[in-house]
């Protein structure tokens, strides 16, 4: 790549924007912050598009294979001659794709927020945080070093924390932001230890060298890490699983998913950006980044990725069918779709046409970013109008919000996997990859895609059909043009993004993939999706008794799904009862009473002893004379008897 300078600018522009808005926003830019943020992001987006063009069409390929290009590297922290954290930029197909996705979705969210967040007293702060997030996310995808990625990983975590807790006066928002940060931090602990293990055995933190050292058969590093083992599992598997734990936390995979639904307390555009399109796919990105190591050296760890992904996809889809808060439905659907991306990586192989899963995963990440952020922004429009997240306050809105309605419908069709909408194409690749390597996972995925169509259309009908509109919302209107335009742009992409020739650009080994999914293969998934839609139509197009009856008949299953299978309660039990009551409280008590008590006791004994003897220093001359003569007498006696 010939122009590294402008690539560095892609994350640096939002960073500059963050500092400007953070330091001076409140005073000088309280009105114009939105425009400043949006324009600076427009610049970043254009640069990303130029980069993508340069990479995919001009200079990225050599010998028919897309190269990993290290654009720039600077030693940031030198631990020892062989180990350092470098700040660098690594360009490869997935980085370039992520650059485009992140900047583009972020731009749409910036634009949408101009209308959505209007009148907010901390408008400049909001845009400052958005810029901080965008910077961190871009830094994450550009990282050339596993520690660098961890660093930005933490930064996206904190920007997510700040944005979820943006309405800081609401106790529920504060609680949700804390939960998100702490749960992901717990996962990051695994990531960190994984990094320590990897760096210890491979003597490097740089992705390129790390992957090379841990994939070449016969490399001494690989032999060392494989021969070391702990509890019967090799150090490499431990390291990869621990790194994956970090990824699972960020990507809300079971059982570390509990923060994601609560994170919906943040402003809705934030959910669209962070908790749908960008940050939550960081875990997928991380596994993809280390994919050669997973695929070539440690298929066992990859199995864990597969089943975690498949189970999460299924589990979340079940819960999504029962939730009534529209954002929470979307949150669970995000979790489910990320599950797809995860197991797609899991079932993939490294080279050639067997790398279909990898490509499908990245393809789905790409299309999902558009239709899911569209769904969230659409939900944002709806919430903006009815001032509620609950389905029961909605219904019949299709007449009041025609544009939102159409865009939302397109997104629902895309996520349901109906051709020719974008989700269809990416999901087919994933199903195909699963079909070829793991029938069980294929079965789960197939069933889940039917469920997906069902719960998405349940959502769609509950918002836009179901019952006549509550007319007192009508005076709000559908929102400003800055809110409608992003919806329309994203709708166009949700429709057509499936035609992007991702297979030519992205694959695990850099070579294009040629295999096509045969049309006969698509019949079953599409039929299932249509079935899901029809079933939802029957149940929800008008308000009726049937859904309630079915729920009662399902009884316990419905109830536990509604309560998210009581996972939150389990966590609460562990933290409140065990960490606080069984460890924290005794530790504090022990410190106060035993450790400090011992010190105080020591002081008391000293005081007591001095009380005992202080009488001897009475200040009376006759006492002293007595001691003096007593002493002399004692010495004399001692001399007489002991001398010799």
């Amino acid at each position: 790549m010939s122009h590294p300078i402008y690539i560095a600018l892609i994350p640096l522009i939002p960073l500059a924007c963050f500092f400007i808005l953070g330091l001076f926003g409140r005073k000088y830019f309280s009105g114009s912050a939105g425009v400043i943020g949006t324009l600076s992001l427009l610049a970043s987006t254009l640069l990303s598009l130029i980069t993508a063009y340069e990479y995919f069409f001009v200079s990225g390929k050599s010998n028919g294979v897309f190269q990993k290009i290290s654009v720039f590297k600077y030693t940031w922290l030198q631990f020892s001659p062989s180990l350092s954290i470098d700040m660098g930029i690594l360009i490869d197909p997935i980085t370039v794709m992520m650059l485009v996705v992140v900047t583009f979705v972020s731009l749409m969210v910036h634009l949408f927020s101009l209308g959505y967040m209007k009148g907010e007293p901390r408008f400049a702060t909001y845009y400052g945080f958005l810029s901080l997030f965008t910077f961190s996310m871009l830094g994450l995808v550009l990282s050339s070093n596993i520690f660098q990625i961890y660093l930005f990983w933490e930064l996206v975590g904190v920007s997510s924390f700040l944005l979820i807790g943006f309405y800081f006066e609401k106790p529920s928002a504060v609680a949700a932001s804390k939960k998100a940060f702490i749960v992901t931090r717990f996962a990051d602990l695994g990531f960190l230890i994984g990094i320590l293990v990897l760096s210890f055995y491979s003597h490097t933190l740089d992705f390129g060298i790390l992957i090379e050292r841990l994939t070449n058969t016969g490399s001494p590093y690989l032999i060392a890490i494989n021969s070391a083992s702990f509890l019967g599992v090799s150090a490499l598997t431990w390291a990869l699983l621990l790194v994956f734990m970090g990824g699972a936390g960020k990507s809300a995979m079971f059982p570390l998913h509990i923060w994601l639904p609560d994170a919906m307390e943040g402003p809705t555009p934030v959910s669209a950006l962070i908790h749908a399109a960008t940050m939550v796919v960081a875990g997928v990105f991380l596994v993809a980044r280390l994919f050669p190591v997973f695929a070539l050296s440690d298929p066992e760890a990859l199995q864990v990725v597969t089943y975690t992904g498949a189970f999460s996809a299924f589990f979340a889809a079940i819960i999504a069918c029962t939730q009534t808060d529209i954002k929470r439905v979307l949150a669970y659907s995000t979790m489910s779709q990320i599950g797809y991306m995860m197991f797609a990586l899991g079932v993939s192989k490294y080279s050639g046409e067997d790398g279909l899963g990898y490509m499908g995963s990245m393809f789905h990440l790409f299309t999902h970013a558009f239709f899911k952020s569209l769904l969230f922004l659409g939900a944002g429009s709806v919430i903006h109008m009815v001032h509620s997240n609950e389905m029961k306050d909605m219904g019949g809105l299709r007449k009041l919000m025609p544009i939102t309605h159409i865009c939302f419908l397109i997104a629902c069709l895309a996520i349901a996997g109906i051709p020719p909408f974008s989700g269809f194409f990416s999901k087919e690749e994933i199903l195909m990859a699963a079909f070829e390597s793991n029938r069980l996972v294929y079965g789960i995925a197939l069933f889940t895609s039917g469920l997906t169509a069902f719960y998405m259309f349940r959502l769609y009908y509950s918002i836009f059909w179901s019952k006549p509109a509550d007319t007192h919302h009508a005076h709000h209107g559908e929102g400003t043009w800055t809110m409608k335009i992003p919806l329309m742009i994203l709708a166009v992409l949700a429709l057509f993004a499936g035609f992007t020739p991702i297979a030519n650009w992205i694959s695990a080994d850099g070579a294009p993939i040629h295999s096509k999914v045969p049309i006969t293969f698509s019949i079953l998934p599409v039929a299932l999706a249509l079935g899901g839609i029809l079933f939802a139509t029957r149940l929800f197009i008008t308000a009726n008794e049937l859904p309630g009856r079915i729920a009662t008949q399902l009884g316990g299953i419905y109830k536990s799904a509604l309560h998210k299978f009581y996972i939150d309660e389990l966590y609460l039990f562990v933290t409140k009862k065990i960490l606080f009551n069984l460890i924290g409280r005794p530790a504090a008590w022990f410190d106060k009473n035993i450790v400090d008590g011992f010190m105080n006791l020591l002081a008391k004994i000293t005081g007591y002893l001095s009380d005992m003897i202080k009488g001897y220093q009475s200040g009376k001359v006759q006492d002293y004379a007595l001691y003096f003569f007593g002493g002399v007498a004692g010495l004399v006696i001692a001399f007489i008897y002991l001398w010799k």
Binding site: S80, I182, I193, V197, F200, A603
Partner: protein, 500 residues
């Protein structure tokens, strides 16, 4: 570069304060003195870089020796390496910030500022000394003012806290004294005399039995200053009762005297014993890290929260030293710098909140972000730095300790490292709890609505410390390059011990 200036500047400032007429003059003199110290420290940094660039490879730079009590061979021997310069820089930052937050100290202002400056003099003397007895002398100079600062200007059960702090630190000093006498009487200069000279001592080989006998005295003695478990109980009470500036000095400077001593005197001079006892150090510091973090979780007073978290964070310093690898020891020094800056910032923020709301109880505060955005932001920054967010100093320091600790291949040491890593989660819990309840959430007390945000002096103090935190956090290479030549000498000495 004449290092004695680091003693003369504070001395003149202190004397000048005695002649000042009113608070305005006193604080102006103090601030001017503190800024001069800062300028001097920066000049020292530049001079150091220049010397190293010119190829000066000796362990200590700018050395100067003067006998001050020949019969015992006591010398005024001074000199610095990168580690001491890092400590001196930290001290100057905290002195300036501490004086700025005490801008309106009305009661006995002359004595207050005099004692602050005196404390800084003790710290500088300690960090530049290369004669361990002279070092001990300056350590004591730095202890006495703390007793008075807490006892006179403190709050709550201040007499108890001041007494507890003074007694425990004096106990530590007594142990140190035994330790350094043990070294002294086992030193052989070849001329029949003994020596306290650090550099000469480092070239001798003290018999391993002697080392094993005296290492615990020196290490625990210095360790008490840096809150070694289970001798940490002076920390919570002492910090909580101290006035803001004294808390900042205590956590930012005094606790570092201990860490520096553990490294420079105990570990450097008795490397065989350091190897022999490293498992004890690691055990004790891991307990401090985990147990301190859990104990923090249950605290309800902001100052206690920060004090207990200091116990946990200082555990990283001792852990880094105990792991005995170059990276971990470098990390320990970085952690000292980082902890000093961020704890001082935290105490400054707590002081600002307390001076307005007159409470430090978490339950009574709430929604401060709306009322005092600047102070609240400072509080959040201090908190995020404390929980090790990248971009702030805590992250690089902790990560260096972790990476360094992992280089020690022993299985049990690995376990200790993992436990220490786990504390980052607990830290997140207590920091977010504290911030969530005080800064965020609804406003709990209507009368807080009238409270004002930070004044200029508070803004400067916070700005200075945040600058320090960011400079370390964003560009850690200058700090690590500063420290590493110093730790290399220590690790060489430790390595020699290992080979024997």
């Amino acid at each position: 570069m004449n290092l004695t200036l680091f003693l003369l500047f504070p001395l003149f400032t202190a004397v000048a304060i005695l002649f000042a007429q009113n608070l305005k003059q006193i604080r102006s003199i103090s601030l001017a003195g503190a800024l001069l110290q800062l300028a001097l420290a920066l000049k020292l940094l530049m001079a150091y870089y220049q010397q190293r660039a010119e190829g000066n490879k000796s362990q200590m730079l700018f050395e100067y020796i003067q006998n001050w009590y020949a019969p015992l061979n006591l010398q005024y021997h001074i000199g610095v390496d990168g580690i001491s310069i890092a400590m001196i820089l930290l001290t100057t930052f905290i002195v300036v910030a501490g004086i700025l937050v005490s801008w309106h100290m009305e009661t006995l202002s002359k004595e207050f500022f005099f004692l602050l400056i005196l404390l800084s003099l003790g710290a500088y003397g300690f960090f530049i000394s290369l004669d361990i007895f002279t070092m001990f002398f300056f350590l004591e100079v730095a202890v006495i003012p703390k007793f008075l600062l807490i006892g006179i200007w403190g709050s709550g059960k201040k007499e108890y806290s001041a007494m507890k702090l003074a007694l425990m630190l004096m106990g530590g000093s007594a142990l140190i004294l035994v330790g350094i006498f043990g070294i002294y009487f086992n030193s052989h200069t070849g001329t029949g005399t003994h020596t306290f000279d650090l550099l000469l001592l480092s070239k001798m080989n003290i018999p391993i039995e002697i080392q094993k006998m005296f290492f615990p005295f020196a290490f625990i003695g210095f360790g008490i200053f840096t809150a070694i478990f289970p001798f940490h109980t002076w920390v919570p009470d002492g910090h909580a009762s101290a006035p803001t500036a004294a808390s900042m000095f205590l956590a930012g400077i005094s606790m570092k005297l201990g860490g520096y001593g553990c490294l420079r005197v105990a570990t450097f001079l008795m490397p065989d014993a350091a190897h022999a006892y490293s498992w004890v150090i690691i055990l004790v510091s891991t307990i401090a890290i985990i147990y301190g973090a859990f104990a923090t979780m249950m605290q309800t007073d902001l100052k206690y929260i920060n004090a207990y978290s200091s116990i946990s964070h200082c555990g990283f310093v001792l852990l880094g030293i105990g792991m005995l690898t170059q990276t971990s020891i470098t990390g320990a020094v970085m952690q000292m710098v980082s902890h000093g800056l961020m704890t001082a910032l935290f105490f400054a923020a707590i002081g600002m909140i307390y001076s307005r709301t007159h409470t430090r109880m978490v339950a009574q505060l709430g929604g401060l972000l709306k009322i005092m955005p600047f102070i609240s932001t400072v509080f959040v920054i201090a908190g995020l730095s404390s929980l090790g967010l990248p971009g702030f100093s805590g992250f690089v320091a902790e990560m260096t300790v972790f990476i360094g600790s992992w280089e020690n291949p022993d299985k049990m040491y690995r376990l200790a490292t993992i436990l220490a890593c786990a504390s980052i989660v607990v830290t997140a819990v207590y920091i977010l709890r504290a911030a969530g309840q005080t800064i965020m959430g609804p406003i709990t007390n209507k009368s807080y609505d009238q409270l004002s945000d930070a004044t200029w002096n508070e803004k400067f103090a916070a700005g200075l410390l945040i600058t320090g935190i960011l400079v370390v956090g964003l560009a850690p290479f200058w700090l690590i390059n500063l420290i590493q030549p110093g730790t290399e000498f220590i690790i060489n000495k430790l390595g020699v011990a290992l080979i024997k």
